[in-house]
């Protein structure tokens, strides 16, 4: 059982609408977004992040019909399946992109530190 303090050190990113953390036991990324918890292997996370970034928000804004008020966002293996409004998509983007940033930064630091150690 992971300790809370252990968990908080692995928080990758936090926004008003959710947070993400890394689980080293299962090698996965856990996303908590507006009370939906989903977990991802790294590839699935990257695919999810790209998918959310590829939603054509401008098109949704200009389309005045009801069907463009929200869009179904689903991920591989059905970790996450929700109808999200434009606003929620932007918030999810912020969370996922922030998470990705931390992962990248961490990877870079590991790379540099290892090089210096040798």
């Amino acid at each position: 059982m992971a300790l809370v303090s252990d968990l908080t050190t692995k928080i990758l990113f936090e926004t008003e609408k959710g947070y993400s953390y890394q689980c080293d036991l299962t090698n996965s990324i856990i996303i908590n977004f507006v009370d939906t918890v989903s977990s991802y292997k790294i590839h699935d996370f990257l695919i999810f992040q790209r998918k959310v970034n590829n939603v054509d928000i401008l098109n949704m804004l200009y389309d005045l019909s009801d069907k463009s008020d929200a869009q179904l966002i689903e991920t591989t293996k059905r970790n996450f399946s929700r109808n999200l409004t434009i606003c929620e998509i932007v918030q999810l983007r912020e969370l996922l992109n922030g998470t990705k940033f931390t992962l990248n930064l961490h990877s870079m630091l590991c790379n540099i530190l290892k090089v210096e150690l040798i």
Binding site: Q22, N27, H43, L103, S107, N111
Partner: protein, 172 residues
């Protein structure tokens, strides 16, 4: 905290993107050659049609080779979309002029991938891409030879087109 990104893939995002782009370029090249093969076929150039069918298959192999490299290295390979390609050509000669232009464009794209590998210190991918450098050297030479044959054989003479069809198909 584990470095999940690095343990899952040896490709950085920038390299993965440019490799996916290269996969698409190879896949497009295959379709372009396929359209040329069909045009040659319906205009009576049986031998060069076969030659182009073969080229189309080769390009498809080039595509698969990059595609599989991406996944082998832990990256995310994206199946490229299939755009419209040129179906009609003004002349027999134009087919080969366009083929050469395509090969030159592919060479430039490959050089860009290698430049990116060097900028990112990705020597494994650079080494992988060297196969394509050698391949392009051949492809460009062959495409240029085809146009050279148009200079040597007058296509407007009695059996000119027939002879060109035969000679070009023997290239390579």
């Amino acid at each position: 905290m584990k470095d999940l990104l690095r343990t899952s893939t040896s490709l950085i995002e920038g390299i993965e993107n440019i490799l996916n782009l290269q996969a698409k370029i190879e896949s497009d090249a295959s379709n372009k050659y396929l359209a040329m093969a069909a045009w040659l076929d319906r205009n009576g150039f049986d031998n060069t049609a076969s030659y182009m069918y073969k080229q189309a298959e080769e390009e498809r192999e080039h595509f698969l080779k990059v595609f599989r490299y991406i996944t082998d290295m832990g990256g995310i390979a994206v199946t490229p979309s299939v755009p419209e390609v040129q179906q009609e050509f003004a002349s027999f000669r134009e087919v080969f002029e366009i083929a050469l232009q395509n090969e030159i464009a592919v060479t430039q794209a490959i050089n860009k991938v290698i430049a990116k590998c060097r900028a990112e210190n990705d020597y494994a991918t650079e080494d992988f891409m060297m196969w394509y450098v050698a391949e392009q050297r051949e492809e460009e030479k062959n495409a240029r030879r085809a146009l050279e044959l148009f200079e040597l054989i007058n296509e407007n003479e009695a059996t000119g087109k027939f002879e060109l069809d035969l000679q070009i198909s023997k290239i390579g």
